[in-house]
Amino acid sequence: MRSKNAIEETIRTKLNLTFDPPLRGQLLARALREQEQSQETEPALNRPAIRRMIMKNSMVKLGIAAAVVAVLGIGIMEFLGTGGTSGVVWAEVAKNVEASRGVIFRVRPTGSRDPNDDWPNGYQIKWRSPAVTRGDKYRGGQIYRVYYYNLDAKTTIFVAHDAQSYNKEALSDEQVQRMRADKPWTDPQGLLNLALSVEHHALGQKTINGVLCEGIEATGPDGSTGRLWVGVETGYPVLVEIEAIDKGGIRHTSTMDQFRWNVDLSAEGVEPEIPGDYGPL
């Protein structure tokens, strides 16, 4: 008689299938072709659908995109003379965001199907500028991973503090070109296209962490929403909240806050340090 443990062990160790060699090779070759073709396609953010953005792009990209989309959308309305008489001049916000040299902010995503989703204890601090992207991942208040791209220096660094190891590589010209093209918040035309396809309405004013803000909410055709709160005095986004329900009925959210706008990232010592006792991955 087999015990339950024996049944579990049997399934774990003896239920194994492998692809036949010819099919195995064909599928890999096709996958590599698909990967290559996907690099040549237009950035997803040029396509007007919030839901698609949520499912195919990082929440960070989405948040920034949604914020700027909403801002630009409202800004256009202001230019067209349909805006209200509130404290925020949205056209100025759009200009501020577009002209910002760099931004640092916190991201807290949740709701993915991912079993390792570490909400509410995990978060990322993101550093973004046209040339630099850095993400510091925190869990339990401790930094455990850092990734960094510098398109001007054509370098990329990955540091795994939890494994005391790192990886540092050069970026090819092709990779740099692709990554520059894939920065949605530096593409006003793409964002404008998006803004014109998304409905939005004013949320009024409220105080967030002592800052008087004014908000708008943009809604996609599938019901996904993005809320943007902008400081009345500074004219910069203060809080971005994104919500969507995926096909499986799972609610995805992303919250971006603790923004520091117009930061000169070249002067911030953004490149991560690799401790001397860390080994290469």
């Binding site: 579990e8 399934i11 692809f19 991955l281």
Partner: protein
């Protein structure tokens, strides 16, 4: 886990080597899971192909914080479910006396010859479980998912999932011990 993190990082930059490594590492476990859920070799291969090609297309914008294994296995489960739903719609349109649902067919003799004997036998036994129990057993034992994550995928409570797992193992034990006693 650390290797997965590095692979994800490279995939976002379009690394071919990273995609090849993910393929080498996970394609067979994906096939095993798909076969366990479908008990039909060709259908299982189609599912894995769909999931992996989709993964290759979207790898540049990959957005997952956890293991690639869980990500890909969840993709297999969702694709199998889509397939079930599609076939159920087709079956509804047919006459009751129409041809059998290809997914619910047991593996034919030619497939059984391809599969290793032990694997074929186990797949045959697992196919006798109700669908929800089969999912829980395979996601737990072959995809290494946590019960709370399986509960999320099945949109039910953890206690229900634990019950399905327990009943599923009991049923498997009964079937396998029954075979052994023949």
């Amino acid at each position: 886990m650390l290797e997965d993190e590095l692979l994800k990082w490279k995939l976002r930059r379009g690394s071919r080597d990273a995609l090849a490594r993910v393929y080498e590492k996970y394609v067979d476990p994906m096939l095993t899971l798909a076969m366990g859920l479908l008990n039909h070799r060709a259908a299982a291969e189609d599912v894995v192909q769909d999931v992996f090609l989709s993964f290759a297309r979207s790898a540049k914008g990959l957005n997952t914080h956890g293991s690639l294994r869980s990500y890909l296995m969840t993709g297999v489960l969702n694709r199998v479910r889509d397939r079930h739903r599609s076939l159920q719609r087709q079956v509804l349109r047919r006459d009751a006396a129409g041809p059998a649902d290809p997914v619910s067919e047991s593996a034919g003799p030619e497939q059984a010859a391809i599969l290793r004997e032990e694997t074929a036998r186990l797949n045959g036994v697992i196919a006798e479980l109700p669908e929800e129990q089969r999912e829980v057993v395979l996601l737990r034992l072959k995809a290494n998912l946590k019960f709370r994550d399986i509960a999320r995928l099945q949109q039910t409570s953890i206690s229900t999932v634990l019950g399905r797992y327990r009943y599923g193992l009991d049923r498997l034990r009964s079937l396998l011990n029954g075979e052994a006693n023949r």
